[in-house]
């Protein structure tokens, strides 16, 4: 099993969710994060104090999939999140040693 972790633009979340649903990926977890990369932030001025805002809001999408579906899901996710502009984000793949469904202690791919 592999974990696909994608850092995406917040406004692409709906597209990503739908793309994953379309290929039958139901299990996913998202969280709000802030990220920094090549994308330039912006300047904010509060009462004469200047702040360089370089941590921009992003959404982290995590989904654990079987090894077999890894490529397909990664591609679908990447395509759905793409706008072609700097700041679109990254996808990182990690190995997952084990998965457990808390409800009934199913393990392995059956738990996904």
């Amino acid at each position: 099993m592999k974990k696909i972790e994608a850092i995406i633009q917040p406004h692409k979340l709906d597209d990503v969710k739908e793309a994953l649903k379309a290929i039958g990926i139901d299990g996913l977890t998202i969280s709000e994060v802030r990220g920094h990369g090549r994308q330039k932030g912006h300047k904010e001025v509060y009462r004469g104090m200047e702040y360089q805002i370089d941590l921009l809001p992003k959404i982290k999408v995590e989904t654990v999939v079987t090894d077999a579906r890894l490529d397909e899901v990664t591609r679908a996710l990447s395509a759905a999140a793409r706008t072609g502009k700097i700041g679109d984000g990254k996808i990182f793949i990690y190995d997952v040693l084990e998965a457990v469904r808390i409800r009934n202690d199913d393990t392995g791919e059956a738990a996904l």
Binding site: H11, D14, Y46
Partner: protein, 465 residues
């Protein structure tokens, strides 16, 4: 402090006079009478002015923080400041217009459609009451009270173009809109000699106690025009655009409710029984409408919601506005209840049928609710509540259908039509002009980033620890 002295002085005079009243009885009594007549008049002004200043403060509170919160909570987080700014900036901008020429165009005598320039730069607007508009309050009080209406009206429109209009365009739009739509409409309905003014010599006597046509129809209809002209928000209606903070909206709605007592009961321009009557009608209208909307939701979706309750309350306040100084308490309940259900239907069924993006339902609530209220005023207005309309012989005239004067419904309809036409034509022309000059809509990048960052260079919340 000077008035205090003046008043104190009067009393000294009165007291001292009475000491040597015996010798020159007639003169003494005459002087005491004149003094006490003046004192009673001054006392009358204090009582009425106390209420009207309070009302003016309440109406300003409706815009900020009331409307700013109500609208600010309904948008997405990235637009909260930009949306509140619409209300806030207008508190400042419209004030300047009003001081220079706005009050004059609305309330100076002119022709039936627009006022003149006799109050230009507030010339002649001082402490002395203007008997036409308020015989027992300083003219300045009336001026500042009416300003608060001129502030909130364009702010209401901003619910329609929320989340996608340029800030500079919003400012320019408002200046033009106030001048071309609001000031003339206010003059027609409330200005001396205005075309629709029932009490000060209008051709078509329309009853609009606190602004069903002037405030709500004009703003609501203009809002629809703006929504159609600007087009939908990026992602609408596919993407979820949930209110980001309904707590803010609920607080805003409650402050609108409280402030509306100044709006409607203040429109009696005195702390009289008529003010009390309008206060009661206002509260009853809001209550019944909140229930109406909630029950409609409950029946349709299985659950009554907070958003439904507050939307209903606002719809009821809108609908009772023109009627508040003319109707009895139970008709007020009925008007509110109908408004709650009607506006619910407008912002759900009708809006989704036509598919326009009236983001915060400025049309569905203010346009629709204002129109309903204006017509129902013609039905339920009664001289048992308001005996202000008299014939030449001083006989109190019947007001609405319930008084046996069905023609009033037609008068009201004419006023509604005029408001619609003025709002549609005026807004379209102004949008074209502003668009040509500076462009009305922000870029897609700016819209995706949100108004707060792109227009104002700041963020609403930085909740990190």
């Amino acid at each position: 402090m000077s008035r205090v002295f003046a008043c104190f002085f009067t009393w000294c005079l009165v007291s001292s006079t009475s000491l040597f009243a015996q010798p020159a009885a007639a003169t003494g009594i005459d002087a005491r009478l004149s003094a006490v007549e003046a004192a009673a008049k001054t006392a009358q002004i204090s009582g009425d002015n106390a209420w009207m200043l309070t009302s003016a403060a309440l109406v300003l509170m409706m815009t900020g923080p009331g409307l700013a919160l109500f609208y600010g909570g309904l948008v997405r987080r990235k637009n909260v400041l930009g949306t509140m700014m619409h209300s806030f900036a207008l508190m400042a901008v419209v004030t300047v217009l009003w001081a220079i020429y706005g009050y004059s165009l609305a309330f100076a005598e002119g022709n039936p459609f627009i006022g003149g320039f006799s109050y230009f730069l507030l010339n002649g607007v001082g402490s002395t009451p203007n008997a036409d508009y308020g015989a027992t309050i300083p003219h300045q009080t009336y001026m500042i009270y009416q300003l608060m209406f001129a502030v909130i009206t364009p702010a209401l429109i901003s619910g329609a173009f929320a989340e996608r209009m340029k800030f500079s365009a919003m400012l320019l739009f408002t200046c033009l809109w106030s001048t071309i739509v609001y000031f003339p409409m206010a003059h027609m309905v409330w200005g001396k000699g205005g075309f629709l003014n029932a009490f000060l010599g209008g051709k078509v006597p329309c009853f609009d106690f606190a602004g069903g046509t002037v405030v709500h129809i004009t703003s609501g209809v203009s809002a629809l025009v703006c929504a159609l002209y600007l087009g939908k928000r990026v992602g609408f209606p596919r993407e979820a655009m949930k209110p980001h903070n309904l707590v803010l909206s609920a607080v805003g709605a409650c402050l609108l409710w409280v402030g509306w007592f100044g709006f409607n009961a203040g429109s009696a321009v005195s702390a009289s029984g008529l003010a009390s009557s309008a206060f009661v009608a206002t509260h009853f209208g809001a209550s019944a409408a909140a229930l109406g909307w909630m029950f409609a939701e409950w029946a349709r979706h299985g659950k009554p919601s907070m958003l439904g309750g507050i939307s209903g309350a606002v719809a009821g306040l809108v609908a009772i506005t023109p009627a508040s100084g003319f109707v009895k308490p139970f008709p007020a309940l009925l008007i509110g209840f109908l408004a709650g259900i009607f506006c619910f239907y407008m912002v759900t069924t009708v809006k989704s049928k036509f598919g326009y993006d009236d983001s915060l339902d400025a049309f569905g609530v203010h346009g629709a609710g204002g129109s309903l209220g204006a017509i129902l005023t013609g039905v339920f207005a009664t001289n048992a509540v308001n005996d202000g309309l008299k014939d030449a012989a001083g006989k109190v005239l019947p007001l609405g259908l319930v008084d046996g004067h069905p023609g009033q419904v037609l008068n009201q309809a004419i006023a509604v039509v005029i408001s619609f036409v003025l709002a549609i034509v005026g807004t379209l022309v102004i949008l074209k002009i502003v668009d040509a000059l500076i462009g009305v809509r922000i870029t897609t990048e700016q819209e995706v980033a949100g108004l707060d960052v792109s227009m104002h260079g700041e963020e609403g919340y930085s909740l990190e620890a």
